[in-house]
């Protein structure tokens, strides 16, 4: 654990050195590309590792999924399962989303009026 953290810190320090003290040059651009490449690689690896989309053995195909698909009509009376989820099972999230819209309006209007 200590070694790992030390390595991480060393990488951090090295990276910061590279960015802080190298002059603006082609090298820096290359390094940025390399870093982006690393990040991209990590993301791609993550996605590749994810369960296959739509496969029935996926972790998200659990009891929640079963319930949403099979019992939504009985639970909510809505034949559109999406509506059942967003406005009944997870209605609080939707309230939050409505609030996000309201916040955006408030932010925009207050800024327009202030300046």
């Amino acid at each position: 654990m200590e070694v790992n953290s030390l390595t991480a810190m060393a990488i951090l320090v090295l990276a910061s050195y590279i960015f802080f003290y190298l002059p603006a040059s082609r090298l820096r651009g290359v390094l940025v590309l390399i870093m982006l490449g690393i990040i991209g690689y990590a993301l791609v690896a993550t996605v590749a590792e994810m369960p296959t989309f739509g496969a029935s053995a996926n972790p998200p195909h659990n009891e929640v999924y079963q319930r949403y698909l099979h019992q939504a009509v009985e639970d909510t009376g809505a034949i559109n399962a999406i509506a059942a989820i967003i406005t009944d099972y997870r209605a609080f999230d939707t309230l939050g989303e409505v609030t996000v819209l309201f916040t955006a309006i408030a932010a925009a209007l207050s800024n327009l009026k202030a300046h």
Partner: protein, 147 residues
Amino acid sequence: MEDLLVRIICRLVVPFVQLYGLYVITHGHLSPGGGFAGGAIVGASMILFALAFNLEAGSRKLSHDISLLMESGGAIGFILAGFVAMLLGQNFLTNKAAGFPLGVPGNLFSSGAIFFFSVAIGFKVGSTMCTLFYNLIEGSDRHRSSE
């Protein structure tokens, strides 16, 4: 946009667009769509109107006060519908257990509170779109005139 053709076409099209928006909002629990999508359609119709005619005409149709009221009213309606469930002795935002009549699945007036929620969201989203549009346009107008 002082084009006669555009105006006439808009005048013809806008009611139907709005009707379609209302349909999408009210059939949220029956078909794809719902408050967000339908509200966006209704809002877009107002934007279309304002684009085809001009800002004053648009804001004469839907004044700032009313859009503000709808803005807040939609969200407040959502919360109040949630509170109704609480008054009925259940948790916040409860639907079936609180005793909202679910009706026959597939009918328009079915699925209890979901209908109200959809309508509230639709109001909210529609007014958000046109409020934002009007205010941004007005702001840029004012900005331009001040320069």
